[in-house]
């Protein structure tokens, strides 16, 4: 190869790099065999404590769910996971069609007109939705109503700062409000009055942004039914492992007239000269590689493979399966809430409020409660006072189809002991 190029060594190809910049070597250990590599990586994995799925009652945005074997069987196909971004449509029909199916599934689930091809996570989805509202209304304040996931709000603030968007808390929009953002159910598991918040937003000329839980949408009225303008959320529960918080997938869907302001990729159908249907990246003129500094989002790489996982998951579950797991979580969480509220000194933190499968309890000595459960191998409630000072002593618990009846008994027994 060197001979073809007409040089004597690779160093002859590096002549443009000033000598003063050249390195002798990297200050890193030498490489390892595959056997040694995985042994070292495994040693790190072994230093972590993994709680059994059935004994995990902690949620807060990431949940243990049953993951059908079909999900990994599909996403571990190298034709999917080692493929590039589908810019060359003819060579990427598998990815493009899967994303098109994902877009349709999310649109169905949220009852919105159109979904994009995915975003990074729920937090950035909220931030991107706020940006859409800012561009659409020309107003620069967004209102966060109720207990929206605190990390989502932190990301929203960081995004907003660069874009000149002010983030305020409250549920009384005014002429300056670009959007009212609420979460259904919220970070504590509480159900909010989504239709009323949506109406309030619209009465003030603002958009309503609903951050929703995709599984509980099998039970709850979806954003499209109460007239929200943008639906966003975190898709981790749709077939993705907790994995310390990522990679997961953010989804975003909107009304027809807002589609041109949607961030990220969109896949649509097209036909070839022979009339065969295929799939292409559509409306690319909105995106950064065309609009450059005029783009309203800089997203390029998104979370396609996670979107594929979500598509397989939803297709496996079907409407009945999804409703079934949502109902199981609902029933078990209500069962557990009643039993926990009966413990001496324990009470529901918001007894007047409805919930689905996550709820808040006020408990004496919350940190010792959590420690006691950990000693029994149970990942117990999440101490939310870390983010909300007014919620001292409040823990949130969650139940899904993986927390069997015995696991609930174990939890209650551990607390009573």
């Amino acid at each position: 190869m060197l001979e073809t190029i007409g040089v004597r060594s690779i160093d002859d190809l590096l002549v443009d790099i000033p000598q003063s910049l050249r390195l002798e070597s990297l200050q890193l250990p030498d490489g390892l065999s595959e056997f040694e590599t995985i042994a070292q990586v495994k040693a790190l994995a072994d230093r972590n404590r993994v709680y059994a799925d059935r004994l995990t009652f902690r949620g807060g945005g990431v949940y243990r769910r049953f993951i059908p074997a079909a999900v990994a069987a599909v996403t571990s196909k190298p034709e999917f996971y080692t493929a590039y971004t589908p810019y060359q449509a003819e060579a990427s029909q598998g990815t493009l069609q899967a994303i098109f199916e994902y877009q349709t599934l999310i649109a169905e689930l949220t009852a919105m007109d159109i979904s994009n091809a995915s975003l990074y996570d729920g937090a950035t989805a909220v931030a991107e939705a706020a940006m859409m509202a800012y561009v659409h209304t020309g107003r620069n304040e967004v209102l966060v109503a109720g207990y929206v996931h605190p990390e989502y709000v932190q990301v929203l603030r960081a995004f907003g700062e660069g874009r000149g968007i002010k983030v305020r808390r409250g549920d009384q929009p005014n002429k300056k409000t670009a959007a009212v953002i609420f979460q259904q159910p919220d970070f504590l598991g509480l159900l909010v009055d989504a239709p009323a918040l949506t109406r309030a937003a619209h009465d003030a000329g603002a958009l309503a942004i609903a951050c929703v839980d995709p599984i509980n949408l099998a039970i709850l009225a979806p954003p499209g039914e109460y007239g929200a303008d943008i639906a966003v959320g975190e898709g981790q529960q749709l077939g993705l492992a907790p994995s310390l918080g990522g990679p997961h997938v953010g989804f975003i869907a909107c009304r027809r007239d807002l589609v041109r302001k949607l961030p990220g990729r969109l896949v649509g159908t097209a036909h070839d000269a022979e009339g065969r249907r295929g799939f292409v990246l559509a409306l690319a003129a909105r995106e950064q590689h065309i609009r450059r500094e005029k783009a309203t989002s800089n997203i390029c790489t998104n979370h396609s493979l996670c979107a594929l996982a979500a598509a397989v998951y939803l297709t496996y579950m079907g409407p009945e399966g999804l409703r079934h797991v949502a109902d199981v979580g609902f029933k078990r969480a209500h069962n557990l809430a009643e039993r926990l509220a009966d413990m001496p000194g324990w009470e529901l933190a918001f007894p007047e409020r409805q919930f689905v499968n996550e709820f808040a309890v006020r408990v004496p000595r919350s940190s010792s409660v959590v420690k006691k459960l950990a000693r029994k191998g149970i990942l117990g409630g999440l101490d939310v006072s870390r983010w909300f000072r007014e919620l001292r002593g409040v823990l949130t618990f969650t139940c899904t189809e993986v927390n069997d009846a015995k696991a609930l008994d174990q939890l209650v027994e551990a607390l009573a002991s």
Partner: protein, 498 residues
């Protein structure tokens, strides 16, 4: 060959999957919740049996091109082979099973991995600290610019402009604008490198940063980088490195030593985490000491072998993503770095440069090279001559390559080269692959000169031929303005669109 949509394959008679029952007394939603809170109509999800699902997705997989099968000569995208060990590592229950809100004491191994990965990335690019939070390259760019903005603010300096070369990736100007900056373009000179005279004229007390990638998007090393750094720093501005081209010089030189203050890296390019058909990736950002106070929170800290998450960072730009970034991708990248070692990473970059120059040399006889070599890890050719003489465009060559079992190179980028064809072969391709790719280019160019019409009709062997994007865009527009009911951007049951 096409595959019906899952929605079209759906059969109402399919038995739903067997799932656990609640096995406990408790209410149903309708017993407790007011009717207006409940969904009125179930979502129209497809109903398929597991065998049908597996066949559907297996057939879709067969319609895809992937790096596991063949060569992607995609300039600026660094499509390397993705070692399968990485996947095994990320799937270890000790990583995949971790809840992000577990106590720090129970995730010491994960934090140690993040800390070690940070140290390794610091060593590769020559910076003080790295944040692992950004989920992708563009996300990393924006994160770095937010830090640069915070740095200037902390010094009570009102700097409003970011300079971006005309050859830059589209994400650069977009990220700068979304960070609140005005974008000012800097021109390339005739040698393909940034014009120092133009840079000089655009630098001012208004300049917050210059965004640069080196080697630049033409695959050329900015020889005058040290002078550029001095000019930028002399005005009090910062120098930002777009890490898309990091694969060119691991172990050879470092952006930190070149004078860059902030550096983003794409783990899905340089460090072999898979592209996943468009993500998830990871876009860590490295910074020099003066930017450390502004890093997103939390950072991972290590003291006496004990690891903690540090949220008390008063000058931090805040949080750019939930939790701690795309942890699963961090595991993959760390595994790769461990296996390669310092020696292996250096060799990888040297081999990438060798591959690019070898291939450049082979195709030079057939395609115009607007800029003099040697190149670094990639090169940009131009089909301009073929376009004017034979009406064959870069796009035609790209599509013709698909018919010859190769993916297409990056075309029409960088914008400064007409009919650009950007090729990055990477170190994981063999000489035989490069030879056959060059032979395919030769064949296509010969055909362009004798029978150009044939090329306009390619690809023929792909599952579908060239798709009419213009007609699709027209239909989408009709839907968006309410003149048609087929949304094109999603499936609808035929009865719904009639």
């Amino acid at each position: 060959m096409t595959e019906p949509l899952s929605f079209e394959l759906s059969r109402p008679a399919v038995t739903p999957p067997r799932l656990p029952d609640a096995d406990l007394p408790g209410p149903a939603p309708a017993d407790v919740l007011p009717p207006e809170m409940l969904r009125s109509r179930p979502p129209d999800l497809p109903r398929l049996s597991e065998p049908e699902i597996m066949r559907h997705y297996s057939r879709l997989a067969s319609l895809n091109y992937s790096i596991s099968e063949n060569f992607y000569p995609l300039g600026s995208c660094t499509m390397k082979y993705n070692p399968v060990l990485n996947e095994q590592a990320a799937a270890l229950p000790g990583f995949a099973g971790l809840h992000p809100y577990q106590d720090e004491d129970t995730i010491q191994g994960a934090l140690e991995l993040m800390w070690r990965l940070e140290r390794a990335l610091c060593a590769v690019v020559g910076v003080e600290r790295v944040t692992l939070q950004p989920a992708a390259g563009a996300h990393g760019e924006w994160t770095a610019l937010r830090m640069i903005a915070a740095y200037h603010d902390s010094r009570q300096e009102n700097r409003t402009e970011v300079l971006v070369p005309d050859s830059a990736h589209g994400t650069n100007p977009a990220s700068a604008a979304l960070s609140g900056f005005k974008v000012v373009e800097v021109k390339s000179g005739s040698d393909g490198r940034i014009s120092l005279a133009d840079l000089e004229s655009k630098l001012s007390r208004q300049t917050a940063a210059l965004m640069l990638t080196n080697p630049n998007t033409l695959g050329l090393f900015e020889r005058e980088i040290l002078d550029i750094a001095e000019m930028v720093h002399a005005t009090g501005a910062m120098l930002y490195y777009d890490g898309a081209n990091l694969n060119a010089f691991m172990g050879i030189c470092r952006p930190g030593d070149m004078g860059f203050d902030a550096v983003h890296m794409n783990l899905h390019k340089t460090f072999t985490t898979p592209h996943g058909g468009g993500g998830p990736g990871a876009g860590p950002v490295g910074v020099k000491a003066e930017l450390v106070p502004f890093l997103p929170a939390p950072t991972v800290e290590r003291q006496n072998g004990h690891l903690t998450l540090d949220y008390k960072r008063p000058q931090s730009i805040g949080r750019v993503r939930s939790f701690y970034g795309n942890f699963g991708m961090l595991v993959r990248a760390y595994t790769y770095i461990l296996a390669m070692g310092g020696d292996g990473l250096s060799q990888a970059s040297r081999d990438a440069v060798l591959s690019a120059n070898y291939l450049r040399n082979l195709v030079e006889a057939d395609l115009e090279m607007p800029h003099k070599g040697p190149c670094m890890h990639e090169f940009v050719a131009s089909a301009h001559n073929l376009t004017s003489a034979n009406g064959v465009r870069a796009l035609d060559i790209a599509k013709a390559l698909l018919d010859r079992q190769f993916y297409a190179p990056t075309v029409y980028f960088p914008l400064v080269v007409p009919e650009a064809i950007m090729v990055e072969p990477t170190e994981t391709e063999s000489k035989a692959t490069l030879d056959s790719f060059a032979a395919a280019i030769k064949e296509i160019v010969a055909q362009a000169k004798t029978d150009p019409e044939v090329l306009h009709a390619e690809p023929r062997s792909t599952p579908v031929g060239r798709l009419d994007e213009v007609a699709a865009a027209r239909k989408i527009n009709a839907y968006l303005v309410g003149q048609a009911e087929d949304p094109i951007l999603r499936w609808k049951a035929p009865s719904d669109t009639a």
